[in-house]
């Protein structure tokens, strides 16, 4: 259906501008001040890349950033695997008893306060006497992000025509081959979008990470948080700007992927 293109009225333009300003002005200020030459955060001292340089010489900060990226990548990968399996089970599986309870429980982390998830995970790790560090944070982030992947993949799967898999089976595929050769290629964009969502969520998280991390394995957000408590250094602005840039790139790719996925879904629909 052709979309009707309306000219923006002055009211619309104002509303849009105010909305965008409300959301992005603070971030803009942060980005601009990251290029500030002055040592004082609130005083403009001209353009400089000094604080970016500072960051790349800050061993502790770099370690924290590297830790964050590793945790995000590993936990997003595990969450994508588990989340996709859960979505396939929920959409394609037989209507088993307690199915709606299971799907409800799967979504609980979406609305659960992070403090509670973090605390319960901490108690679990302490009870298991697990050494807290990279793996505990990764596992904690996996439990947090898995449900997001499930939601994304589930909606894509539900829109797929069931008869596609049946057609594949009719033409000689066993159920596993049918899934791999027909369903998987069609839901790959959604899976990719889910991975990127999980990656950014993990990269952002402070609360759960601070409960589950151990000495010497602080993630970047935790590191920034503890630095800021001692006073805001311009270096933090530089780090934050880079994190924003990274997340922006990932989000753009993820939304492009899901757009591609829904475009494919439309073409898969009969006539």
């Amino acid at each position: 259906m052709a979309r009707k293109v309306n000219r923006l009225s002055p009211f619309n333009v104002t509303a849009l501008a105010l909305g965008v300003a409300f959301l992005y002005l603070p971030i803009m200020i942060l980005v601009i001040y990251s290029f500030n030459a002055s040592r004082l955060v609130t005083v403009w001292g001209g353009w400089s890349l000094r604080w970016y340089q500072e960051f790349f010489n800050d061993r502790a900060m770099l370690d924290a950033a590297w830790m964050s990226l590793r945790v995000a990548a590993v936990s997003a990968t595990i969450a994508t695997l588990l989340g996709t399996l859960a979505a396939v089970g929920l959409v394609r599986g037989e209507r088993f008893r307690g199915r709606s309870l299971f799907s409800g429980m799967l979504y609980a982390p979406l609305v659960m306060p992070e403090v509670i998830s973090g605390l319960s995970l901490l108690l679990l790790f302490v009870a298991l006497n697990a050494e807290r560090g990279f793996w505990t944070v990764t596992i904690a982030h996996t439990t947090l992000t898995m449900c997001f992947v499930t939601v994304v993949v589930q909606s894509r799967l539900a829109s797929l025509d069931r008869s596609l898999e049946e057609a594949a089976m009719d033409l000689g595929c066993d159920p596993v081959q049918a899934f791999l050769s027909v369903t998987l290629p069609l839901i790959i964009p959604a899976i990719a979008a889910g991975w990127m969502l999980a990656f950014t969520l993990s990269l952002d998280d402070v609360v759960i990470a601070s409960f589950t991390t151990g000495p010497g394995s602080a993630t970047l957000p935790i590191r920034i948080y503890s630095e800021v408590r001692l006073g805001v250094k311009p270096e933090i602005n530089a780090i934050c700007t880079m994190v924003i840039a990274l997340i922006a790139v990932v989000i753009v790719i993820a939304s492009l992927a899901s757009k591609l996925s829904s475009a494919k879904a439309e073409s898969a629909a009969p006539l």
């Binding site: 025509d161 008869s163 596609l164 049946e166 057609a167 594949a168 089976m169 009719d170 033409l171 000689g172 595929c173 066993d174 081959q177 049918a178 027909v182 290629p185 069609l186 494919k264 073409s267 898969a268 009969p270 006539l271």
Partner: protein
């Protein structure tokens, strides 16, 4: 004067063209035997103790209203549903435990179910690759299939770059590529517009005859079933009401339900009053005494219905008619034309009888300029012969 070629003087006798619908001999062992098959969804019996034999090389249509279980039956043949009871034998082998991908049966889906991420070529070759065919053999078969459904030059396109008719052809080629023993077609033409549907019907029939394959088509469109199939099984509420050739189905319906479902019909309810000289006389509420030919199978129960197709009911202006002119007695019902529906090739007349009942008559418009047409308000005699009637139990 031009020289005549000798060919013309000695006309060649061409091989006699095959009849339009060759019906295989009945004594052959059926390719497919469905024996007492039932399938229940929850508490809803979709298919109810159904038995049916289908012979090799037959074009069989399952016809019925939506929800009658015809698609469920087809899906059981394909292996997507398992019968709760009964057996399905293909070539004498019980295929109940055989999974869909191991059955020598292929299905063409109602919405075609083309793989959107694969090209036309890869869609058609999908089943061949799965069967482990050699690359060269696949290429040969592919070219053959593409030519068969006239899709040359489209091989590289994706399904979303094709028209509805082209998609239908790809789906057909894909399901035929593995040369199944039986091809199942689920409403194959439902998504096409009328013109395309008619030409595709012809193509499907030709294809089936050429390949000698057994086709089982599910449809709710009786014209489609009549045109294409050798035999039609009419389904209602999970059971087969009648299995017959299109002609028998129309001219000799087995039940009142079939008579009403297939085509249009006038029904007169009544009781048998006398039986003499191969004629039954039936006293009807709406049409008085109607004389009918004695049916092949004697009607057991007495309240019966007399079914007459509208095109068997002819209308005349009232006047003296000598029965002596005809060898058999004629049923004559008097009434007034209330409505004329002009359909081009024919017109449908509604006649309100003196008893209050309405009889429909369909007559061909054979003359272009007809000064003697029957209009609304015209008093007429609706008449039909005893052989035009079918007696059915109520």
């Amino acid at each position: 004067m031009t020289e005549r070629s000798p060919d013309i003087d000695t006309p060649k006798i061409d091989a006699v063209a095959a009849p339009a619908k060759p019906v295989p001999p009945a004594e052959e062992i059926p390719l497919l035997r469905i024996q007492g098959v039932s399938k229940t969804f929850g508490s809803f019996p979709a298919v109810d103790r159904l038995s049916l034999d289908i012979r090799a090389g037959e074009f069989f249509a399952l016809l019925g209203p939506s929800g009658c279980g015809k698609t469920t039956l087809l899906r059981m043949l394909a292996g997507f549903e398992t019968p709760d009871e009964g057996r399905i034998l293909l070539g004498g082998r019980d295929i109940a435990p055989v999974l869909p991908h191991e059955r020598p049966v292929n299905m063409m889906f109602q919405n075609y179910a083309l793989f959107p991420h694969l090209s036309v070529r890869d869609n058609i070759a999908f089943g061949l690759k799965r069967a482990g065919m050699a690359r060269a053999a696949i290429d040969t078969r592919l070219a053959e299939m593409v030519a068969l459904v006239k899709l040359e030059g489209m091989e590289k396109r994706k399904p979303d770059q094709l028209s509805g008719g082209q998609r239908q052809r790809v789906a057909l080629a894909r399901s035929l590529a593995r040369r199944p023993k039986v091809l199942l077609l689920d409403e194959p033409l439902a998504a096409l517009d009328k013109k395309l549907r008619e030409s595709t019907q012809q193509e499907l029939m030709e294809l089936q005859r050429r390949l000698g394959m057994t086709f089982i088509v599910v449809t709710h469109d009786q014209e489609e079933a009549m045109t294409m199939a050798n035999r039609i099984g009419v389904m209602n509420a999970g059971r087969l009401e009648q299995v017959a050739t299109p002609r028998d189905l129309y001219e000799a319906p087995a039940s009142r339900w079939v008579a009403e479902f297939v085509g249009d019909v006038n029904l007169f309810d009544g009781e048998v009053t006398s039986h003499e000289h191969h004629r039954l006389t039936i006293a009807t509420r709406d049409g008085g005494a109607i004389v009918v030919a004695v049916p092949r199978q004697l009607v057991a129960k007495s309240p019966v219905s007399v079914a007459v197709r509208p095109e068997k009911v002819r209308l005349s202006r009232p006047g003296p008619v000598s029965d002596a002119a005809n060898a058999q007695p004629i049923n004559r019902l008097e009434g007034v034309v209330t409505d004329v529906g002009y359909l081009g090739g024919s017109s449908v007349y509604k006649v309100k009888l003196d008893s209050g009942a309405v009889v429909r008559s369909s007559m061909a418009n054979t003359a272009r300029l007809d000064i003697d047409t029957l209009g609304a308000g015209q008093r007429v005699v609706a008449w039909f012969t005893p052989d035009d009637c079918v007696v059915l139990e109520q």
